[in-house]
């Protein structure tokens, strides 16, 4: 199935967990994630199963004012 990570289309297997998808994408800590606009705490990423078309935001520290 296809999902989006930071706007990029990514193909993953059915029943892929959020942790597995992030690993496949090459996510590097530190980061936080949201699925379809909802924050998913790190502690829940293993249990979070993805669905076709899910949109994941993978965010990391950057400069801010």
């Amino acid at each position: 199935m296809n999902i989006l990570i930071n706007g990029q289309s990514v193909t993953v297997s059915e029943n892929t967990s959020l942790t597995q998808a992030l690993s496949q994408f090459g996510a590097r800590p530190p980061f936080a994630v949201a699925v379809n606009g909802d924050f998913v705490p790190r502690s829940q990423c293993d249990a979070k199963t993805l669905n076709e078309g899910d949109s994941i935001e993978l965010l990391s520290p950057i400069q801010g004012g």
Binding site: N6, G7, G26, A27, R28, P30, F31, A32, V33, A34, G37, D38, F39, P41, R42, E57, L58, L59, S60, P61, I62, Q63, G64, G65
Partner: protein
């Protein structure tokens, strides 16, 4: 020690500094050190393939300063709340500089959405530092919700115009004497920062004025001195302003005195 409080934590430096827009990471680091700030602002964005973000975060961690994450760029309550939650996990702090933009042209905060998001975040355990306009009633409503710190703008972000409405800022200070007030955004010159402190503001938060200067490190020192001068001035209490001149040198014993 002359300190101010941010949700119970005491700070002596009255200059909060941003980490963006510097010409290089080393200039950013040197400017932050020169400012002697104790609080630095940061943000979150989509992870890029290169490791530049990792380097930035390591530099900030090396400063040992208190980190204040922001929700810059958010236009809805939902976006701001989600980004705040993500910041809390990554930066391991419940502080959040809540930015909720209402107008794309001048980046003016949306006061209605700001109140709604503040209420949600305070209920979720956040210590909210709302970036708001210099509207007294809005500041009072934010205080009523439980904000201990308020951050009205001096002018729109990045304009460098200084305090556009000193009367409004003064009125907020007078009406909320027990809240920590920080002028956030719009400053361009150290004299602007000095003026904010002279009005009784506890601190200023700025970024572009230092990062966009010809020599950011030197400008950082200038702002450090300016906030100290402004604070001393406020504590010392200025002389009353008068419309009529009065001589400072004694007139008694003046030679060549014209009696006629």
């Amino acid at each position: 020690m002359d300190c101010f409080s941010v949700y119970g934590e005491q700070f002596t430096s009255r200059l909060l500094i941003g980490s963006a827009l510097y010409p290089s990471p080393s200039v950013m680091q040197d400017s932050i050190v020169a400012s002697q700030a104790e609080i630095v602002t940061v943000s979150l964005r989509r992870q890029q393939s290169a490791a530049a973000g990792d380097d930035f975060w390591q530099l900030i961690k090396n400063t040992g300063l208190k980190v204040l994450p922001n929700t810059a760029g958010c236009h809805s309550v939902k976006e701001a709340v989600t980004l705040a939650q993500m910041c809390r996990e990554v930066f391991a702090t419940d502080w959040i500089k809540l930015e909720l933009i209402g107008d794309e042209y001048n980046l003016q905060p949306d006061p209605i959405a700001l109140l709604e998001a503040t209420k949600i975040l305070l209920a979720d355990g956040f210590k909210v530092l709302p970036y708001c306009t210099d509207d007294l009633v809005l500041c009072q409503r934010l205080a009523d919700l439980g904000c201990e710190v308020l951050m009205p703008w001096g002018a729109p972000i990045g304009t460098g115009k200084g305090l556009l409405n000193p009367y409004n800022l003064k009125m907020i200070r007078e009406r909320l004497p027990n809240h920590t007030l920080i002028v956030d955004a719009g400053l361009g010159l150290p004299s602007h920062a000095c003026q904010a402190l002279e009005l009784g503001y506890d601190a200023v938060l700025l970024n572009s004025a230092i990062a966009g200067a010809g020599c950011p490190v030197t400008m950082s020192k200038a702002f450090k001195s300016a906030v100290e001068a402004g604070r001393y001035s406020y504590v010392a209490k200025a002389m009353p302003e008068k419309d009529v001149a009065s001589p400072s040198t004694p007139t008694l014993g003046m030679p060549f005195w014209h009696q006629e």
